[in-house]
Symmetry: C2
Subunit: 212 residues, 2 copies
């Protein structure tokens, strides 16, 4: 993986995730090699884009023969950090948090939620799956004890920023944010936002525009 | 809104959504005008980017005086299609679908879920909030009767593509997709994907990279 030292654009990383999903589908259907065009078609992009995206990973694939599904799947899993189990803490055991906790594909991908934190005293001490929910006062202790790599933020907006500052202070370097707010984090912390409203508003923009 | 006829890039639309959120915060705190720098700081971007994004909306804001919070809020709501109530159908009343249904900010933004469809016979006929869940065999009828503008897809991957083809066939032009798959749709249908896994994999990429 020596070739893979430059920063890859976020948009490429997102497409690599999708290509991996398609390759796994191909693998399940018994397909052993695919052309860039086949990946492009599934991904709604062009063969040239697929080749460019994959060129970040080094050079493989044979002209005219396409990519080995097994090889490319392995490379993508490695690049995307999916050959490791990541220890994940969930902040917020409300409706969104609970749905995330029970979302099976997270675990299947190696994202293992080992810690759940909530500030509701009626929830603290109760179980979510096999995890006992802990209070916010135990946040730092829990993150350290459990060697947490990644934190999922599913708390209300007014408390989100203060909580992630505590998370970052103990050294966590990756945050997945579901709170509909822009978190301010140090540059060395990776942040991804999943905003249902932002995507919905992209659609209402398109609808409104088509009616003008 | 005559100036606003060119296609605005998706990344700009996303930032406009965020700016609107920040402006609403400012409005609640009694702030009446803001400089591009203040929006940039909240959004983790630059003042030049903010000015460029807002330039798509036409020319307003006074050099040195900044933008009127009330005026810009109104313009953004209009551009993003948030001065209208959109009629929304939810496909899939599983855990994700139910969490979305009960997500209050959707309604507050004018996204009104009036139809819920599920293929589980134990769910059909039962209530989700004030909506009676209908079966998949009633899909087309429900979409037409309810004049649905936008469909949220929260069904398992294997059934997603076939269902959205039926949705598109009755003329729906906007799809918010939660199924972790790339839907193939006609060009005139707006599609946004909310993928929890893709964002998580972006983070595991960063984590894996920092450990190399």
């Amino acid at each position: 993986m020596n070739e893979f030292t430059n920063r890859v654009p976020d948009a490429t990383i997102r497409r690599l995730s999708l290509y991996l999903r398609f390759l796994e589908d191909f693998e399940r259907s018994g397909v052993t090699s695919v052309a860039s065009g086949a990946l492009a078609e599934r991904g709604g992009t062009t063969a040239a884009q697929v080749r460019k995206d994959l060129s970040y990973l080094g050079s493989f694939g044979k002209r005219g023969l396409g990519y080995s599904v097994a090889e490319l799947t392995g490379v993508l899993r490695g690049v995307l950090g999916l050959d490791t189990v990541w220890r994940v803490a969930l902040l917020g055991a409300g409706r969104i948090g609970t749905a995330l906790f029970e979302y099976e594909p997270f675990r299947a991908r190696g994202f293992n939620i080992t810690t759940v934190i909530d500030n509701d005293p009626r929830k603290v001490g109760t179980c979510l799956g096999d995890i006992t929910i802990r209070g916010e006062d135990e946040l730092e202790q829990a993150l350290c004890q459990e060697s947490i790599d990644l934190v999922i933020v599913a708390v209300p907006v007014p408390v989100a920023q203060a909580l992630v500052e505590r998370v970052v202070a103990v050294g966590v370097k990756a945050i997945l944010n579901y709170a509909p707010t822009q978190l301010r984090l140090p540059d060395d912390v990776a942040l991804r936002n999943v905003s249902m409203l932002v995507e919905l508003e992209g659609l209402s923009y398109s609808l409104a525009r088509s009616q003008r």
